[in-house]
């Protein structure tokens, strides 16, 4: 079985090289200008140009308002409306991401530099471990494009990620009752990190990321539960051993390192067989639907886990 079967790309979808190259140049400049215009990290999003990709879905997009006002980002509070309500003081610019560890060329990348990478539209399903889901049009670039710039060493087996710690700008990180230890940390196996579906997102719905959704740069791994997709990343480390991850540290019985979406493996306290699609149905209409193995991306990612017991490695 091939390790990865990309979806079929119709010829009509392929943009000639000279067009996308000039487009990239324009986009990078436009995005940087857009960010600059937002001044000292204002909360509002700036337009962000991107090129279409093969990663689309036939499902209805979750309304933008739902995507940006109903989510978890405990650094801003534990309720779903908290990230949107409490992230106004957060300054997503200037920003840089350190990429270090077992790499040939460790580097710190400024956001402007990252925005010059080929930005693509990636519409993905997002399945929260709590049993709800969305369809979100992200803008981002493959994580592998960034990893290629630092020359990972052969000994690197995992990638560790870290969220920023700024109690003054993130109200959930201060006060006497904090739900998690900071910084929030996450990790992937190197082959998961290099998978074409794995992206670093810098925008959604055609604009830069709102603070609530992990501005200015976040991970999106669509076949894993949402908490794996760490937000507001400041550090990426290539490491040899499986890195610690925040939710596994908090409760290893309930949250594993892999956390692949799997309807056959229930959370110890609730079922993962179905999910509530946010923003559809409303009060009286049923919008529960069956959860798909690997969140519907089994064709592309199941082979990563050949021979791995998914019940034991939840």
């Amino acid at each position: 079985m091939p390790a990865y079967r990309p979806p079929h790309i119709p010829a009509s979808e392929i943009t000639p090289r000279d067009i996308y190259l000039s487009r990239r140049h324009f986009m990078g400049a436009a995005a940087a200008a857009g960010l600059a215009m937002t001044g000292v990290g204002e909360a509002f999003a700036a337009p962000l140009a991107s090129s279409p990709s093969i990663y689309k879905l036939d499902e209805k997009l979750t309304p933008k308002e739902a995507v940006t006002t109903y989510n978890n980002f405990y650094e801003f509070g534990v309720n779903k409306e908290d990230p949107a309500a409490n992230s106004g003081d957060f300054k997503p610019t200037p920003w840089s991401v350190k990429v270090e560890g077992m790499v040939g060329k460790a580097a710190e990348f400024g956001l402007e530099e990252l925005l010059k990478l080929p930005l693509e539209d990636r519409t993905y399903r997002m399945r929260c471990v709590e049993g709800w889901s969305m369809v979100i049009p992200w803008i981002g670039f493959p994580l592998s494009a960034l990893l290629d710039k630092v020359d990972p060493l052969g000994s690197a087996k995992y990638v560790a990620f870290e969220t920023v710690v700024r109690p003054e700008e993130m109200p959930g990180q201060k006060g006497f009752f904090q739900p998690l230890p900071w910084p929030y940390i996450e990790g992937l196996r190197l082959d998961e990190a290099r998978h074409p579906l794995t992206i670093l997102a810098v925008g959604l719905y055609g604009e830069t990321l709102p603070n609530a959704n992990g501005a200015p740069i976040r991970l999106v791994v669509p076949w894993k539960y949402g908490f794996k997709s760490i937000k507001s990343i400041v550090r990426i480390s290539l490491v040899e051993k499986q890195p610690e991850t925040t939710w596994k540290n908090a409760n290893a019985r309930e949250y594993g390192f892999y956390s692949n979406v799997n309807p056959a493996v229930d959370h110890p306290r609730w079922s993962q067989a179905t999910e509530q699609r946010i923003g559809e149905g409303g009060f009286f209409g049923s919008n529960r639907r069956p959860t798909l193995p690997f969140n519907g991306y089994a064709d592309q990612v199941a082979s990563l886990y050949d021979g791995l017991d998914l019940k034991a490695n939840y």
Binding site: V78, E81, E130, F177, D266, R269, S271, Q276, F283
Partner: protein, 219 residues
């Protein structure tokens, strides 16, 4: 009797009306959240929001029910006349909470309901609390109190089990115990624990009073 009321006492002729007012006010949160749900005011996962609000209000009413005795013991405020209403409001909220879960959330998929009750400890506990509330609600009337006499007191001690069960249900249902669950659970633990130390506290208070009394009569 000897306690000093900290609040102005309500004239006796308003007692009945104030109890009915409590039922009416007590049902307001349910009506309000239902209205918000109908008009799109509960956000993007309205059924869950409604379900959770009803559950939290059930816990608040059980907390209020359990607070009546310590309020009288320690603060000298006698609101015993409201305890039945608060207890029944607890039952109504648990009942609506369950009804919403079965109807709006699981869409009458009784297989899934029984599966949850059998497999998920927090739902097992929650459902057990609902069942235990039924005999208490059914005997919350003067006739039952007279008929059951001492047995009524013993039966209604079940409320402690129910309150603790509700707290466990809540803690198990949330992803992590944050401030709001912590406060509710802490209050329940405090109020149930109070029952264990109530006797010594009352004896101590009575002792102080009998010491104080002869001194006053001499003066």
């Amino acid at each position: 009797m000897l306690s000093i009321p900290a609040l102005p006492t309500l004239p006796r002729r308003y007692h009945r009306a104030s109890v009915w007012a409590l039922y009416a006010i007590g049902l307001c949160p349910a009506v309000w959240y239902f209205y918000l749900g109908l008009t799109g005011g509960l956000g993007f996962n309205p059924v869950k929001e409604f379900e959770h609000a009803l559950g939290i209000w059930a816990l608040r009413f059980v907390i209020a029910t359990l607070a009546i005795t310590p309020l009288r013991d320690l603060a000298g405020i006698n609101w015993m006349r409201y305890r039945r209403a608060l207890g029944l409001l607890t039952f109504y909220y648990v009942l609506i909470h369950f009804a919403v879960y079965v109807s709006l959330d699981l869409r009458f998929n009784f297989g899934a309901v029984w599966g949850d009750i059998a497999k998920r400890p927090y739902i097992t506990i929650g459902f057990a609390c609902l069942l235990l509330l039924i005999p208490l609600a059914a005997t919350s009337n003067n006739w039952s109190i007279r008929k059951l006499a001492q047995a009524w007191n013993r039966l209604h001690k079940l409320i402690y089990v129910i309150a603790v069960g509700g707290a466990i249900h809540y803690v198990l249902a949330v992803k992590s115990v944050t401030l709001v669950p912590f406060v509710h659970v802490a209050l329940i633990v405090l109020l149930v624990t109070y029952r264990a130390v109530r006797r010594p506290i009352l004896d101590w208070k009575r002792g102080k009073r009998s010491e104080a009394r002869p001194a006053r009569s001499q003066a």
